[in-house]
């Protein structure tokens, strides 16, 4: 809690005190998913003017496993706010918190757990059902609440799809500040395992099952960011005895902790008993694919499809394998068969009520600052947005979500390999094109008039021609993806041509940060990762941008893996070769770039009251793994930290997390 100051607590002023609690109670019956983020509600009193107001903010990641923990959090918030007069809509106000309420939704039993503290003394708690009526508290409900809260924190962390309507009046803290919290959570997942489907599942999956749902997803993220592989494996092994469908997760944990041999052995063993387990088959096929053994990946992926023909992911994997083997016709046909999931959205943190902008108190934390990031002028960004090239802004492929986005990715992968013209040819070969369809229709409608005679119909001319019959109708959504692809390609091709032209003429190719970023996104969508990175770098040369930074961080992390494969001699067919000197130099560059992004994104997150990002923790852990903690620390000191800007302290907090969870030994 070292970084909580008045500057890092956003609040929303209520028009009428307690409105937000009332609205939260009213919306309980409508909740169909993991529910809204946790909420802290405050009644604040100004002793000098005798006025009283209500405020609230959202929360993720706090420990809500019992009312004492929650009360402690509320006390600390009250203390910070009451410490010194608060800058409140431009004026200093000596607010004292009189009463505070914490709300955390229990998505298992559909209850809202609430802890209320009166200051100086008095703690009470309650649990409300969908109708807002209190139910009798049980230990089980507390466990469910705690697990629900952490699942929300983990599933919503680093949310890339969050849009302009996402919540800013929220504090996101790390749910695993110590060994105890992670142990409780993992144990909680085991205890609640059979209730997992109640939490819903990722939008790529039709229906939650015991083996795939948000509880299981959160479990895997938790194990990964804390490195608790041993504990994770023990839990899954116990669960697999009762519910064999989770066995594939055991293999996944082995792979995540780089124990490939154990993972493969686990899959091999279970496949005897569960030859139709599509999760298991997908894990196996994905592994063979990554190893470049498409000959093995193909039959396994086919079996995954045959075992789960109405699930999307096995089909998508099969398409990927067909693309890798160069069988583009079959890839297109298979893509066309993918059962798109249309009825589901990804889980996002959502407001219970939308506050008027004028009621938002969004202070600037002054304890950690880096001018480039902390002082980014939002008015400038908004102006840039207004003047942006509309063609770039409105590319519809950018709005694709979930299974549509995956299917589009597969289509772009094909076009990257074949080019547009060849793709059109493959398409015309396997799908009935409109022209052809109309022709067939008109022919068959003329024969219709006479085919009453069974005897005459024996001829055979009525059946569609052989090659026509072999074709399929292209699904409407896939047809639409072809249109979007065309638009993306048009913009991308023009951009690359201009870039070449300007470079050749040694002229400056001027674009705003947002425009570069959008060009980066088109390039990413079209699988031109290197070109995308180029555009993101150009975007960041203008000003800081969170989206470009995240995308670039992802790219560099991927590059690091690629380099490692090259070093270990495991490189894939289409990965270039490098001399060991080149490798060493590139690794240094990557390390520098990644550190830069991690520092800036950490500061950005801190500015927006967020202290938890698995993506940044992962990047930091891998940096330490490569270069050691001392090297990382000294580079931060040398390049970013000053005595007063707090940057070193902020990153140290993340390093502390890694140390706690044994990612490195303190003396390393």
């Amino acid at each position: 809690m070292s970084f909580v100051t008045q500057g890092s607590i956003p609040e929303v002023l209520e028009t009428n005190a307690n409105d937000s609690l009332t609205e939260r109670t009213q919306c309980l019956s409508d909740i169909q998913d993991l529910g809204p983020p946790d909420m802290v509600h405050l009644i604040k009193h100004n002793p000098s003017t005798k006025t009283e107001i209500g405020t609230y903010l959202y929360y993720t990641g706090s420990d809500v496993s019992n009312s004492a923990c929650v009360a402690a959090l509320l006390h600390s918030i009250a203390d910070i706010i009451g410490e010194t007069p608060q800058v409140w809509f431009g004026k200093h106000k000596p607010w004292k918190v009189q009463e505070a309420t914490y709300c955390a939704y229990n998505a298992f039993s559909k209850l809202d757990t609430r802890v209320n503290v009166h200051f100086p003394g008095g703690v009470s708690s309650s649990m409300l059902d969908a109708e807002g009526n209190p139910v009798i508290e049980k230990d089980r409900y507390w466990l469910e609440t705690a697990v629900s809260s952490v699942v929300r924190a983990l599933i919503s962390a680093d949310d890339d799809e969050a849009d302009f309507s996402s919540i800013v009046e929220i504090r996101k803290i790390n749910p695993f500040p110590n060994e105890e919290t992670i142990t409780i959570f993992l144990k909680g997942c085991e205890d609640l395992f059979f209730e997992g489907p109640k939490l819903g599942c990722a939008p790529t999956i039709q229906l939650p099952t015991l083996a795939s749902n948000y509880l299981v997803d959160a479990f895997m993220i938790a194990v990964s960011i804390t490195g608790k592989y041993q504990e994770g494996l023990e839990i899954l092994t116990r669960l697999a005895h009762k519910e064999p469908s989770v066995s594939y997760l055991i293999a996944k944990l082995h792979f995540m902790s780089s124990h490939e041999v154990d993972g493969i052995a686990a899959l091999y063993e279970t496949s005897r008993e569960r030859p139709l387990d599509s999760n298991l088959l997908m894990t196996q096929a994905e592994f063979c694919y990554e190893k470049g053994r498409f000959d093995l990946a193909l039959p396994v992926a086919i079996r995954a499809v045959n075992s789960s023909p109405s699930a999307f992911l096995p089909w998508a994997l099969l398409v990927k394998v067909y693309i890798a083997t160069g069988n583009y016709e079959q890839a297109l046909l298979t893509l066309n068969s993918c059962p798109i999931v249309t009825h589901k959205d990804k889980y996002h943190l959502r407001r219970v009520t939308i506050p008027p902008t004028s009621n938002l108190h969004l202070p600037l934390p002054v304890d950690v600052t880096l001018p480039e990031v902390s002082s980014l002028n939002s008015q400038d960004v908004a102006n840039e947005h207004k003047e942006v090239d509309q063609t770039l802004l409105n590319l519809p492929a950018g709005n694709l979500k979930s299974t549509f986005a995956i299917a589009y990715g597969l289509l772009t992968e094909i076009v990257r390999k074949t080019g547009w013209e060849a793709l059109l040819k493959f398409r015309a070969k396997v799908f009935v094109m409109e022209e052809e369809y109309r022709k067939e229709k008109s022919e068959s409608s003329t024969t219709l008039a006479t085919n009453g005679n069974v005897e005459a119909a024996n001829g055979g001319s009525e059946t569609p021609k052989e090659d026509y019959r072999k074709k399929r109708l292209c699904e409407r959504w896939l047809d639409n993806l072809f249109m979007l692809l065309y638009e993306d390609l048009r913009v991308y091709t023009m951009y690359r041509a201009e870039l070449v032209h300007f470079t050749a003429q040694q002229m400056e190719f001027k674009k705003s940060t947002l425009e570069w970023e959008l060009l980066g996104l088109v390039s990413s969508r079209l699988c031109h990762q290197k070109e995308a990175a180029e555009a993101y770098n150009l975007a960041l040369s203008g000003r800081f941008s969170v989206r470009s930074s995240k995308k670039l961080l992802g790219y560099y992390q991927g590059e690091k893996k690629r380099i490692k494969r090259i070093e270990s001699g495991q490189k894939k067919k289409d990965e270039g070769s490098m001399t060991s000197e080149e490798i060493a130099k590139y690794k240094q560059t990557l390390q520098k770039k990644i550190l830069d992004l991690v520092v800036k994104l950490s500061i950005w997150n801190h500015r927006w009251y967020s202290e938890f990002s698995p993506m940044l923790l992962d990047a930091l852990a891998s940096m330490i793994d490569d270069a050691g903690v001392l090297k990382v620390e000294s580079e931060i000191r040398a390049n970013y930290a000053t005595e007063t800007n707090g940057v070193f302290e902020l990153i140290s907090d993340s390093l502390e997390f890694l140390k706690t969870h044994h990612f490195y030994r303190p003396d390393e």
Binding site: E260, V261, I264, A265, L267, Y268, S271, R272, P275, Q284, F287, C288, K291, R293, L296, P299, V300, R303, V432, Y437, E440, S444, T447, L448, N451, G452, A457, N458, G459, G460, E462, T463, P464, Y468, R469, K470, K471, R472, L473
Partner: protein
């Protein structure tokens, strides 16, 4: 073995709509229909289990499993220690 009689309702590019006597609608790939069929035709469909093929498929699948296991599922042999 099951045998049913179906009416061809609609022939649409790759898909045909077939109807059973009690109005069960089946979307059927035209490629699996015999030649000379048109809307209004009647087809007989026989459906039989193919145990032989099932056994063959299982054998192939087991082979693939073995190959994956043998390739990736065993620790690499230690390089032999050369004793002088």
């Amino acid at each position: 073995m099951v045998e049913v009689s179906l009416t061809v309702g609609k022939l649409d590019a790759s898909l045909a709509l077939l109807l059973t006597k009690d109005h069960h609608l089946i979307e059927f790939p035209t490629i699996l229909l015999p030649d000379g069929i048109s809307a209004g035709s009647i087809v007989k469909i026989n459906c039989d289990r193919d145990i032989e093929q099932e056994i063959k498929d299982k054998e192939i699948f087991d082979c693939i499993q073995d190959e994956i296991y043998n390739t990736f599922g065993k620790s690499l042999p230690q390089a032999p220690l050369l004793k002088v």
